[in-house]
Subunit: 256 residues, 6 copies
């Protein structure tokens, strides 16, 4: 496996280096909170909309709970060639991503602290260059945190329903090299593609490692997990910097 510090990637990055990340809050005003996250050329607009009701199946839960769910979509202009709008039902890939984003966010939530509310995290990809699902999770977490902070602030809920921060990153194997944060160019030729969702204090929420018409060894698996951990730590810092510098948010980023 390649030495992580070699700057040998097509875009000049080291194997363990993230693309430039920016997290801009309140890009739009209509939802409770919105975040435009940019990782290289990948740009995802994550909106957190609050609805004052919960899905039918959890209405009679005791004690009362809230719900956090996600939708994911790419606008047609996000890719070249143009991506065809999914108007006859979301495709398999889209549904899989939506389920992943929603499940990941709920893993760090205490839904009993959000009674009677549903928060929709809409992740609309404005430009896609690899890693849209992980960018969506990282951005959606910030939008969710901001929306929850505001609900607390205006007294709609009593306390923060989030236990800790969450971010996600991709890594992969190309030939002999283990790489962090793959853009489309690399992703399309990777032998192994892994997405890792972790909390800010280093526990796993989701690990999905897929051989792309290929298989991988135990050693490669461990190497990818290590790179992912490094990337998540950096994303975690970027998330914290993008949020207001207030205790209610700071607590989410405390290490165990």
């Amino acid at each position: 496996m390649g030495t992580p510090t070699d700057k040998t990637r097509f875009d000049g990055r080291a194997a363990d280096e993230l693309r430039p990340v920016t997290i801009e809050t309140d890009f739009t005003e209509a939802p409770e909170a919105s975040v435009l996250i940019t990782m290289g050329k990948t740009r995802v607009l994550c909106s957190a909309s609050v609805e004052d009701s919960v899905p039918r199946w959890m209405r009679d839960a005791e004690p009362a709970k809230g719900w956090v769910t996600a939708e994911y979509s790419m606008i047609p202009g996000a890719t070249a060639p143009r991506f065809r709008r999914e108007r006859r039902g979301a495709g398999g890939r889209t549904r899989e991503i939506e389920r992943l984003v929603g499940r990941s966010l709920r893993a760090v939530c205490d839904l009993e602290k959000l009674p009677g509310h549903t928060i929709w995290l809409d992740c609309d990809v404005l430009q896609a260059d690899g890693g849209t699902r992980t960018a969506a999770i990282t951005g959606a977490f910030v939008a969710l945190a901001l929306a929850c902070g505001r609900l607390v602030e205006r007294g709609a809920i009593a306390e923060m329903p989030i236990r800790q921060s969450l971010a996600a990153i991709s890594c992969g194997v190309i030939g002999e090299q283990v790489l962090l944060d793959l853009p489309y160019e690399e992703d399309s030729k990777a032998d192994v593609d892994m997405n890792v969702v972790m909390t800010g204090d280093g526990r796993f929420v989701e690990v999905q490692g897929t051989g792309e018409e290929s298989t991988y060894s135990h050693a490669e698996l461990l190497a990818m997990l290590e790179l992912a951990g490094k990337g998540i730590a950096e994303l975690s810092a970027a998330q914290q910097a993008a949020l207001p510098q207030e205790p209610i948010y700071a607590k989410l980023f405390k290490k165990a």
Copy 2:
């Protein structure tokens, strides 16, 4: 009818005054051209994607032609409360807008100068505060012009397939007042709602005037058309300013 210069509107504008307009080109890089148009709080991302084929029904046209078509969508976070994603087929309003945008753009195109190409204009509303369909037309025209200019530049087509510029604006009647460019706050209480699409040199492409559980007189119709003409002239200037200051684009804005 009210005097157009009274600054009596809820947001301090005069009756014949547009909301602040900005037109930002190349907000994303994936499509051939993209434009983020902002009119007050309404923000629409218009992407022009070029496909090297034409719809089946026009493949054997003699002489060969191209095609220009549009899709329109609102992201869920564009409104509060959240707008439900149209995944089981676009609704009636969406289809009506898409047909309007595509038809309007084609009215100023010479499709024989775009042989073998389809240009998709995707209008994705990032924030909706009234006038999204007219903002979509105004922004999509700029994206279309820019995409065509680039096709000419790199030799994919021989000359500009656009005859002249195009923009659109809404106007309406509330009680006795005839108003230009209605945000949601005004739109929701208007008795009459009119959308006007005009060329830069003052000809009509589309006039749609609708009584909202109400009717209107010939005089009101004429007053609305006059306001629309004034607004279109200003939008036309903003479009020209947003495009590169080159002859290929300047020609589109010449008056008759």
Copy 3:
């Protein structure tokens, strides 16, 4: 522009002349009222069915209201070649027409006088030769009036929920000529296509003027509106003649 009295059209009509119009009431007996309207070869069966409930979203309205809505469809044999049945959801054109018909009828209704009832106006095109949407509106108004008259008669509602009569007609520009009531033959080569919905006393409900890969001048717009006004007056007379000669219907056709 051509002189409206020249009999120069392919079917021998003058520019400002309607096709032969017949309005036959109670063509079928199942619905509350039904109307078979014929304009030249265009034939539309308009049924008014009454339902004793209102859409969910208006159930709690204060004061109680009723609802008027429309559906539009062409039977496959209405055209040659055969028109494909819209079984996988109504297409964009169909939805646009349905919205237009429903909105137009509601513009002359006082829905508070129809509390608790929904009237469905189903416009099924049996033969299509241009102008189906305007024939649908003109016929549906008669079916609606008749259904409402009968509801009053049998005491289901206290008074007529319609303020005044309504009719619709198309006009267009072909080359230099401004023409009234275009059959398919003319419609397919028109540069401008306009649909006008007006009340019997001459106010606008809807004006939709579309350049077909073309644009039009202010003077042409005014000329089309004038022809439309003449046509609407004649249709209005035909509607009144088709309804029972009773005061409850006569009132709808009084001039302002």
Copy 4:
């Protein structure tokens, strides 16, 4: 079982008596042939549209063949209460009727005499009062014969692709009585409901006898078949009378 000549039915008919039947050809002009069939209050518009191609799966058949198929639909105003339009796919009952109509017509066709053509029989029910599927078959046969006669006349095909005539009728059992041609009033309380499709010379094409939450005996089955035979003979005469009195049609009604 009751004596067939007792005039004891709610509408004054004898047990073995058809409702008044009228068959009006060329009710509309757009399709190759159209027939408006009326049986009591049931009215079905049957259009025969000719398409100059065949379904993909039979394109390479040797020898070349044609195809005959049917669609069935009720307009919403056909019933009270209003029938909901089937826009999200035809329902089970509709599909079953369409399959029955198409299969029945094909049973008397020689598809090799219709090479390269598809004939669509669209059966649109304008008013429904029981027996719509059998009226559809009886009417569609006339439209099909007329369309084929015209294809022969103008030389599109060499000879008549129909071997003999076809008609259909319902019968049923209510309590002890075996009845012919049931309107809705009787149909809704029948214990057994049978639809019979027969050729003009008395052979079966389709027999469908259904116990409605009930069962029936061998004797009842035979009694129903006898009534059906009588009804079919009368319908056959009405079909022949409605068609042009020319040898090409007369041949279809010859007895074996």
Copy 5:
């Protein structure tokens, strides 16, 4: 017509001979009852699942009732070539079969003895070699009886809601021969195809006889009904043998 005892069929059977039948109960444990029925190579898994509610439209029935309904599906591997999964809505054939199975079962049920319960009969075809719909009915009856017996046993309902047993078989005409229980090989070349559903004591529930691009005589109809009666009697015996030898089931098979 051939003599029923000639062993001249491609698989060595006599004209009036069934394929080998096996009925295995409780092939799976999850539903209230399940039956794997095998007729030659045709294998259908029939599950009876009980739900403690009834469809909305019958909730307020007086006296309270239950419901029995069926669904039918073929797994893709049931045929060669592979059968395409019906994921965009069940096709016409599927719906027709489901309606037939449900209607047939209800014809022998007394739904007032099943108050508040719905029994779903799911007929999943694991292998298809002709006669799947009749095998589904024969198997589903056994699953239904077993499920009802168990509901009575554990006191969920007071008495057996089934009046008598039910089975189904196909027969047909090939050339001059009238045959019982057609596998695919014969079915695909039959001129007439008949499905008969009868009670164990010899009354008809459903008779569906279809000329396949052909017609049939009265004599052929009677011959098919006779064969069917013989087959049903044998299936009835197999059903009784497959059920527990207890009075509650034995009563269903008593002759009139």
Copy 6:
């Protein structure tokens, strides 16, 4: 973490013990190969159907290739309460599983050795008690191998297009215990749920570990992977035993 050898599970198994596994080949005859795999109460019928064409997008591949794809479905009777048939499009969970099964199988295939053929692996769950997706993969591999072996045998392809064997198993964490092969009872209360797909010689194809409203540590991840490895080895042996004892299959199970 618990000692793997404690027999403390609700069904008496040790933490590292599989449920009883049976793999029955040729349960049905219609497809090229079929396998009924049983793991405890979970039963999945896996059919391999061969089609002599490839998807459109790979038709012009150079060199020519084949395709392997999967579909997954549960019959309604597979669960109690009854599972609702997915007739309006497969749901998110179903699509995710289908993508997983297809991708996993392709990871051990050499598609260039299957030129011009598509193999469909249909995994129909007859009874579901946890672990259906992993049972589907394990069973589908056997069906795929058998189908490919037969294609080689009859000369349709030149050599085996599979590189090595493949199996899958679930594991999870409940409280402090790390467990192998979770039935529904355990799965529904697991904090972490992991599915592992591995080759017979111990390389990873897919690792998917999900915190269920929970997170997990690096140590727990390693413990789960170890259990999975043990389970896969046992499944691999069962697969080999179920296949014919011939060299063409034996080669797939050789250790690296």
